[in-house]
């Protein structure tokens, strides 16, 4: 009878709210405020049996589930067992401490974006896009770039004040650097969808390193990567300027681009102008 009572200390009525109206701490919700309920599934490389079930419970406990219920155990072979576990976790979520990439730019309509580009650059904003490495998933980058667009919004090609060069799939990093220089790109947009063995991370860091090497600091084009499995908070770690994740719309990207490109310099830090050497 106690779990919900203790829980309402945490999230119930009363406690202060964050400025945005959210509760400062929350717990997962099964059917009662604060019950902390979570569902888990995983495979352990152990033969099915009590011992494996105990191991599953131990793992769940290590994950913070004090009283795990191992509700399903199925032998996948004589060496692996699949588990479903339910139970309450003791962790609370500290909502105030949540790191989110808040939208740091105003959302503009295509018209506003075009006006802002004219205003700040006095020329077209040049965007070079590609799927790099061996990745051939172009639907995501096409969703952002092609006129057709995504989720009802037109892609960047539709913007009169943007010049879009879409290099397509499986572009090598050297080719991308080269094209960015040739086109005097303001921004390079890269898509990475395959994430097995962290392919997206490796490819992105390779790409950003190549751009850092090829362009003097402050002169390289804006580096933007996107794909469904990126952590939007990882831009610094990956050496890029911005990451866009699952469900990004073209309008967001366009708005970001004017904001960031215009913000960077009014003189124009385009890719060639001051290019040095490259490989």
């Amino acid at each position: 009878m106690s779990p919900d009572l203790s829980a309402s200390d945490v999230t119930g009525p009363g406690p202060a709210r964050l400025p945005d109206g959210l509760p400062p701490v929350v717990r997962p919700y099964g059917d009662t405020t604060g019950d902390g309920m979570v569902q888990l599934s995983f495979t352990l490389p152990l033969p099915a049996g009590k011992r494996a079930e105990g191991a599953a419970a131990q793992l769940a406990r290590r994950m913070g589930m004090d009283a795990p219920m191992v509700v399903h155990a199925r032998a996948i072979s004589d060496a692996f067992t699949f588990f479903v576990v339910y139970g309450p976790v003791s962790h609370v979520v500290d909502v105030a401490a949540v790191e989110v990439v808040e939208r740091e730019y105003p959302l503009l309509s295509p018209k506003e974006t075009n006006a802002a580009v004219r205003e700040s650059l006095h020329r077209k904003l040049v965007v070079v896009g590609a799927c790099i490495g061996t990745d051939a998933h172009t639907v995501g980058i096409d969703a952002i770039l092609n006129v057709k667009g995504w989720a009802g919004e037109k892609g960047l090609e539709y913007y009169r004040e943007m010049k879009v060069v879409n290099l397509g799939a499986q572009v090598s990093v050297p080719d991308l650097v080269e094209r960015a220089r040739e086109e005097q790109a303001d921004a390079v947009l890269v898509s990475q969808v395959v994430t097995q063995r962290d392919a997206h991370v490796h490819n992105t860091t390779t790409m950003s390193a190549a751009f850092r090497e090829a362009f003097p600091a402050g002169r390289r084009p804006l580096l933007v990567v996107g794909g469904p499995r990126f952590d939007e908070n990882a831009a610094d770690a990956l050496g890029v300027d911005r990451i866009f994740g699952r469900g990004t719309t073209p309008g967001e990207v366009a708005s970001y681009l004017v904001h960031a490109v215009a913000g960077r310099s009014h003189a124009g830090t385009r890719a060639t102008t001051t290019a040095t050497t490259t490989t």
Partner: protein, 525 residues
């Protein structure tokens, strides 16, 4: 609702025979019920008359009053005469005070005759009429709301269970469910409530695996659903359970509080709660009369058999129970369109052709009861902790619902074998139903069971077994009561003189009067 062309041919003679046998089996039980009353029936009369509230311990005043009357003068004449006689004698200004005094034995009850009796009856009948008027008003309100807000656009209606134990958690969950597509919300009751010989009071927050059904939880939830009905543009129905020892009172409260459906099976309490068979049949007849008046759709509980018996072997017991529920319901005045006969998708998924067998059983029910709003219930017994598999089974269950024109679809939960539904389980389950209903669309038009194929053969076979079982019930010495005693349904053996609540049954005396029943049975209007 318009029925599609029948997809199953049943021998009309056998159908007639099945119904005749069901009538024959129920007859003696109805006679038993007509000649008895129970403490709960009498308490229901008081509730209809407006007596509410409870003492500090939570024991309702209706219980105190009925117990006191029984102690002093017995219930053979019913509660009405002694109570309204006491009021007439100004033992107390109103029912509540009377009950309070009765609780401490500070009132003397009598069984007047002649003028005094007539006088008491006038008071009782007026009070009962006011109560029934309250039920009538709730019904009119429902009809009005449905007319204004509208019914769900699709069949089957989507029926969802809420069961937190705390009415204040239930409400937002029910509202979220309605917004997400539920057409009917059932608030499950706390374990153990059905064995309480009183109805708890107030906005309870401490149920186990369900929330206590009280006049106040009914009111709160109905109000919450009215609010959301306007918002979603469909009248969202509310369901609870008229079962257990207080079935007549719960039915009465449901009528007054505008509940829209009630679980109300003719044998569930006997089999699954070990409630005395006679008590159950008496209580049930009264409660069904109330439901009929209130325009409440009853939901029967044939699904339950399949949780203890095998769904293939015992398929015909479902049919027999449906036929019995039908005849009992008709006798109590319920028309076909209020008969939410139940059946369930409970065949072991390991059985070859299980999906087709489910289709056969579901079509059989559909064909036998063309005008009843059938309630199609999801897999429970063969659900496991493998929630992924469970989600899939529920999808196939939903598909049977669409292919066989079911009317009410109790939404299955992937966590059936794990926990009472979480908020997210319900949301996922609704997504499942919506996908299946939308994707299958009018697929029923392409579903044409081969005339001598497995589906047709199986349905005919089950009907045959049902007729045989009914025949053996009618033929056996003690009829239905003996059949129940012998474990015919769900394998549970329940003797007529066993189980809980038998001491609450009273054989009606010659002068028995029930002013509520008089109205419900049309003796008075």
């Amino acid at each position: 609702m318009t029925r599609r062309r029948p997809r199953l041919h049943l021998d009309p003679e056998q159908v007639t025979r099945a119904r005749t046998l069901a009538d024959a089996a129920s007859g003696p039980v109805v006679d038993l019920a007509r000649t008895r009353t129970t403490v709960s029936v009498e308490r229901a009369v008081l509730r209809a008359a407006g007596l509410a509230g409870a003492d500090a311990e939570g024991i309702p005043w209706v219980n105190h009053l009925v117990d006191a009357v029984r102690r002093q003068v017995g219930l053979e004449q019913g509660i009405a005469v002694p109570v309204w006689d006491a009021l007439a004698r100004a033992e107390a200004p109103d029912l509540t005070v009377l009950a309070q005094k009765a609780a401490v034995d500070a009132v003397g009850f009598t069984l007047p005759t002649g003028g005094a009796r007539e006088h008491a009856l006038v008071g009782a009948r007026a009070a009962a009429a006011a109560g029934v008027a309250g039920i009538d008003q709730a019904r009119a309100e429902r009809e009005d709301l449905v007319a204004r807000i509208g019914d769900p656009p699709q069949r089957p209606w989507i029926y969802l269970i809420v069961a937190t134990g705390d009415i204040y958690e239930d409400i937002p969950q029910a509202q979220a469910a309605a917004r997400a597509g539920a057409d009917v919300i059932a608030v499950i009751r706390s374990t153990g409530q059905s064995l309480l010989d009183y109805v708890p009071e107030g906005a309870t927050r401490e149920g186990f695996a369900g929330t206590y059904a009280t006049a106040e939880t009914f009111r709160l939830m109905r109000a919450a659903l009215d609010e959301v009905s306007h918002e979603v543009g469909r009248y969202v129905r509310l369901t609870n359970y008229a079962s257990g020892l207080c079935m007549p009172e719960i039915a009465t409260l449901a009528g007054l509080r505008r509940l829209d459906m009630m679980l109300n099976d003719s044998m569930y309490g006997i089999l699954f709660r070990d409630i005395n068979p006679v008590r159950t049949f008496v209580d049930q007849r009264f409660s069904r009369q109330v439901h009929a008046r209130a325009g409440i759709i009853i939901n029967t509980g044939e699904d339950n058999y399949l949780t203890t018996a095998d769904a293939v072997d015992a398929a015909h017991t479902v049919t027999v129970s449906q036929l019995l529920n039908e005849t009992f319901a008709h006798e109590a005045g319920l028309p076909d369109h209020l008969l939410g006969l139940g059946h369930a998708f409970e065949i072991d998924p390991e059985v070859p052709e299980s999906f087709r067998l489910e289709l056969a059983h579901a079509l059989l029910a559909r064909t036998l009861f063309p005008d009843a709003p059938l309630k199609w219930m999801p897999p429970t017994r063969h659900m496991t902790g493998d929630v992924f598999r469970g989600y899939l089974l529920d999808g196939f269950f939903n598909l049977v619902g669409s292919l066989t024109d079911q009317d009410i679809l109790l939404v299955g939960m992937m966590t059936e074998a794990v926990v009472t539904p979480w908020l997210s389980d319900r949301d996922l389950a609704l997504q499942n139903v919506r996908y299946v209903q939308r994707a299958a669309g009018n697929l029923a038009e392409d579903f044409v069971p081969a005339p001598d194929g497995l589906i047709a053969t199986r349905a005919q076979h089950v009907l045959g077994e049902a007729v045989d079982l009914l025949q053996s019930i009618v033929d056996s010495e003690g009829g239905l009561l003996t059949a129940i005693e012998h474990g015919t349904f769900g394998g549970m053996k329940r003797p007529a003189d066993g189980g809980r609540g038998l001491d609450g049954v009273v054989v009606r005396g010659e002068h028995y009067v029930n002013p509520v029943s008089e109205i419900l049975e049309g003796v008075l209007v």
